[in-house]
Symmetry: C2
Subunit: 394 residues, 2 copies
Amino acid sequence: MEKISCPGFQAAGVEANIKKQGIRDLGLIFSERPAKVGGVFTRNLVQAAPVVLDRELIQSGQARAIVVNSGNANCCTGVQGMEDAKTMGQSVANDLGISSDQVLVASTGVIGAPMPMDKVTDAIPELVKSLSPNGFSDLALAMMTTDTVPKLVSKQGKINSNKFTVTAVAKGAGMIHPDMATMLCFVCTDIDADPDYLSYALYMACERSFNRITVDGDTSTNDTALILANGFSGVSIENSIHKASFQGVLDDVLLYLARLMVKDGEGATKLVEINVSGALSDGDAHAVAGTIGNSNLVKTALFGGDANWGRILAAAGRSGVYLEPDRINISFNDVLMYHNGMGCGPEAEKIATIVMKKPEYAIHVDLQIGNGKATMYTCDFSYDYVKINADYRS
Amino acid sequence: MEKISCPGFQAAGVEANIKKQGIRDLGLIFSERPAKVGGVFTRNLVQAAPVVLDRELIQSGQARAIVVNSGNANCCTGVQGMEDAKTMGQSVANDLGISSDQVLVASTGVIGAPMPMDKVTDAIPELVKSLSPNGFSDLALAMMTTDTVPKLVSKQGKINSNKFTVTAVAKGAGMIHPDMATMLCFVCTDIDADPDYLSYALYMACERSFNRITVDGDTSTNDTALILANGFSGVSIENSIHKASFQGVLDDVLLYLARLMVKDGEGATKLVEINVSGALSDGDAHAVAGTIGNSNLVKTALFGGDANWGRILAAAGRSGVYLEPDRINISFNDVLMYHNGMGCGPEAEKIATIVMKKPEYAIHVDLQIGNGKATMYTCDFSYDYVKINADYRS
């Protein structure tokens, strides 16, 4: 794997034995200088202790580090859970020689089990010692739960011919549903910007990426996206042209990770883009795309390679938005399947079945009653999704 | 199987070879005298031709017969589909010697394939000849698609010491979601009542039965519930006491069939009752119960026998209603699993795991902030659900 880094940042991932032996499960990001911070959090009313803590901490607008563990979500763990989250932050702060209110905390894994704090605190000295500019891939490994591949990416942009970098790591394979940040994602950048703007830019990028993907329609109690900006590049976001340049790169980074999450969706074998156009509004198009992308019947048909446009149409019909069934066109890539209120026949289905053998393809649904459009990324629904989730804690 | 009938009604189910040879796939109900009719239909905007036709026909308030086929939904079949639905009704009317506007039509099966009308019309003479007071079990067989058991029941009630009967057949195992009648269900009764009341009583009974069950969150394009009342018993529904007596029996009949559908849910191995209490309103409780009952993560945990109350809590948290996570109690039958913001420990989980081995059990979620309550019936989510739906058309 190519080395991924971000100027002025270090990262690490070590084995704390929270999960099985020989697997990284504790990670750290550290900014060499004070950084501005922004965040986007789950909208679920049940929230893990670290989410509650981070919401509070980012109010200051500044942070230096993020410590993260996998294997335990530290959620529904009562007063002790909040103590444990604070202890994690405090231990890292001590070893880094910074204030504990500069350390954000994130956890992912099983809900409701107490945090194995001895293991966590024992591993923190080694974690801090392992920090390195090239440590992002170890960090990405340490964040994985049911993920089968680590998820990280780095992209560069230019403002006034000055280069800046956006590097991000994420984890997410299940409990993926378009409702705010639906996983863990940490973004490091060497620009300088004000914290309110950072949260806004991150929110917008989430809307265009993580809020466009669905794996199983469930949302998590731990979903957190954080951005740290340390100003290392000397590039400062000061006007709307700068904002557009930065947003473009940030959107690209998050969309890359979002697509990676769907491809790595629990048990997924296909990445399918659902494009809805011709709706009365973008909101309507989003509702139709979401209902299709989230339908178990559509997703099992995608797994079976069955060009069952009837299920797509039925899902559109129950999405709650106005549509006229007889005007809708449905295509698999460029193969028209449904037109003028009827299927396009067995020949079209035969060609569509070939399309459906590809690892990635698009389903186009044109409602032909307006200009609203939206795209959603989904995956198929396989035996392995059931296996992974029936056995998750065992 | 015990013989199920309803005074003044005859039924039949025959093999028309719409599906495979040797399987009944064409059914008929006939009322020996003119009957009043009521109906409840899918809210999906994509509606099969028979649904459109029946909506129109029941405006007259009268009907004598219902013809139904499985194996083909006659949906998204354009102008020809409506012609075919009318032809089905006309052929039955001819053989029965009644007017075609007295024959309702229903279809269930694959969407988007043209109706094999030759097979249907060829089989209608035999279908009509097979009519018999004891034909309801053949009819129930002829309505099955992915159902593994025929679904029918008959119950009796009394009004002013006069006996009346409510007999119903249904089909449904997938595409089951609480949004209006989510399957086919035909009710025969020997009371007399006015058609508007019949539709209302049927609607209320659907609310209390079919709208409380979920298998996969999808709703169908063909969902139809019909009720025929032929007055054979001499019992007439004239006041609110009569209505309460009749509604009680009708509710029982539909709830029995609804529970049967969940038990027979595609791939289901468990029937689980989700009881939510202590919500701010019944509507809130319904939303929480529905979100839990419909969560893929909860349903795969039910399949795995994993007492994962964290997923139940997480589903409640995203249901969109107000709740206070620390006040919630979660029990499996009478085993308290989550209390005071924390899990009740490994001992409780061990006992709950025994509960989860039962074929039927209840999950109680008490929000403790109000008096709203609701019950939803769901099933687990197994490999076989994926198998059945990935292969459905092949």
